[in-house]
Assembly symmetry: C2
C-alpha cells in the first residue's frame, strides 16, 4: 500500500479477522474451519470509512479486494456526460473489487454511504491461498459465479420491468438481505439516497419518489424518509416477480 496513493489510508484498528464477528464469512460460507484459519493469516487489517469517503476510485491500480464488515458502500461510474451511474450497493458480507482483476485497475469508484468498516484483502495473497486450498478456490469461483448470476438477473430486471416492478424488486432484494442477516425483514433503513436508487435502477429521481409514494398510498409499504416498512409483503413480491396484471398501477394513479 505504501505507494498506492490512489487508495485512501485509514487508521488501523486493533482487531484482525480473529476479532471480526463475521470471521471467515467474507470468503464464503461452506469453508472448513481449517480453510478459515488459513484465510486468517492473509487477511489485512480493517479500515474505517466515514460517510461519503472514498474506498477506491475508477482507474486506480488494483491490489485489494474489500470485504464489507459493517455499513454500506456504493460503486459507480461517471458517464462521459457527467452523469453518475450506480453499479451496485454493497452491504456487510459483500466482497468488492472483482471487476478489477482482469484489467488490473478498478472499473468503478466506491464510496461509503454511511460509516463503514471494510477488510482489505490483498488479491495476490488470496490467489496464492487458492493454490493451496481447493476449498477456498472453489469458494472464490462460486462467489464470482454468483455475482455474475446476480448481475444477469438484474439486467433482466432493468430490461423488462417497469418503474413499479423495479422498485418492488429492489425493496424485496433488500428485505431478503436483511432477513438473511438476522435483521427484521419488514422494517429497515435505506442507506442510500433517492438519487442513488434512481441511478441504480435507471430511473429519474422523480419517478422513484412518485412510485414510492404510490406504493405507500396502496398500503403496500410505509416510507418515512429513509425508514421503510413493508406492510403487504404478498403484493410487493407479486409486483417484484412478474406482475402480468397491472390494474394495481391503474388503481394507484387515482
Amino acid at each position: 500500500m505504501s505507494r498506492d496513493s490512489h487508495e485512501v489510508q485509514f487508521p488501523r484498528q486493533s482487531g484482525q479477522c480473529q476479532r471480526c464477528d463475521r470471521s471467515g464469512y467474507c470468503l464464503g460460507q461452506g469453508l472448513s474451519r481449517n480453510a478459515i484459519h488459513k484465510l486468517l493469516n492473509i487477511s489485512a487489517s480493517p479500515r474505517l470509512l466515514k460517510r461519503g469517503q472514498e474506498l477506491f476510485s475508477e482507474g486506480a491500480p488494483f491490489n485489494h479486494l474489500y470485504a464489507v464488515r459493517s455499513g454500506a458502500v456504493k460503486t459507480f461510474k461517471i458517464t462521459p456526460d457527467g452523469e453518475e451511474q450506480v453499479i451496485d450497493f454493497h452491504l456487510p458480507g459483500d466482497l468488492i473489487g472483482f471487476n478489477a482483476i482482469a484489467r488490473g485497475c478498478y472499473t468503478a469508484s466506491a464510496i461509503a454511504l454511511d460509516t463503514t468498516s471494510v477488510c482489505a484483502i490483498r488479491f495476490e495473497d488470496l490467489t496464492s491461498l487458492c493454490m493451496r486450498s481447493a476449498l477456498v478456490q472453489e469458494a472464490m469461483f462460486k462467489r464470482l459465479s454468483a455475482l455474475m448470476t446476480r448481475e444477469e438477473s438484474f439486467l433482466v430486471t432493468i430490461g423488462t420491468k417497469n418503474a413499479t416492478q423495479r422498485l418492488a424488486s429492489f425493496l424485496v432484494t433488500l428485505s431478503n438481505y436483511f432477513t438473511n442477516h438476522g435483521y427484521s425483514p419488514n422494517s429497515f433503513t435505506l442507506p442510500m439516497s433517492r438519487t442513488d436508487i434512481a441511478n441504480y435502477l435507471s430511473l429519474a429521481v422523480e419517478t422513484v419518489s412518485r412510485t414510492l409514494t404510490r406504493l405507500q398510498r396502496e398500503t403496500i409499504i410505509d416510507v418515512q424518509r429513509n425508514a421503510v416498512e413493508i406492510r403487504d409483503r404478498e403484493r410487493l413480491c407479486a409486483l417484484a416477480g412478474n406482475a402480468v396484471n397491472e390494474q394495481f398501477t391503474a388503481d394507484a394513479i387515482h
Copy 2:
C-alpha cells in the same frame, strides 16, 4: 457424461484440442506453452450443433463449460410470462457456463444460432488444473472478471442509452469482435435474428427494425437481410459512445 441426460449428445469428432486451430486460446491468452499443454490433457472432444439445436437448458445439472470453436450461440431465459430474454451471444473464443458454477445448474438455456462447434470442458478437471497451474488459475480469474466487467458495462448501456445508441453499441461491439478475430471490421453477417437482437437489447422488434432502417437512410450502415456493412464508422461510434447531440435522430426521423 454417461448419466448426463439433460445435455444433448453429439457425434464425437476425431480431433482433440491438438487439432483445434484455436488451441489453448479458449482458456485465455497469456498462457505459457507449458500451461497450454497441461490444459490439452483435460480437454474433452468437440461437439457439433446444427442451427437451433440446444447445447444445454436452464436448470440442467452443470458439469461442463463450453468453448465455442466456430458458429454462434445464444443464451437466454424464459420469463414467467413466457417471453424470451436473451442474455448474451457467444462467438468463437467465448467460454459459456460460468454462471452455473454457483448453483450447480445452468442459469440459462443455450442454443446454436448456426452450425456450431464447441469444446466441452469438464469443470472438475479445470479446477483441478487450476490447483496445479497458477497461470491457468490466473487466466480463469481474469476471464471471470472480464465477463463481469462486460456485463456491467452492458448494464450501463441498457440503463442509460436509447434505442439508436443501443443498436450502435451492439454493431460496434460486433465489429470489434470481428476485427480482433481477423475478419473484416466493416462487413459482416449477423448470426442472430432481429427478434434475438430485440430481446437482447430490451427493445421491441419493430424498434430494432425501424432503427436499422434509419441508420441505413443516414448512410451510416447498409443492411441487406443479415448482411451488415458499416459505411460511416465515425458516426456509428459517436452514437455508440455517448452521443450528447441527438440532432441525428431528429433529422433521421424525416
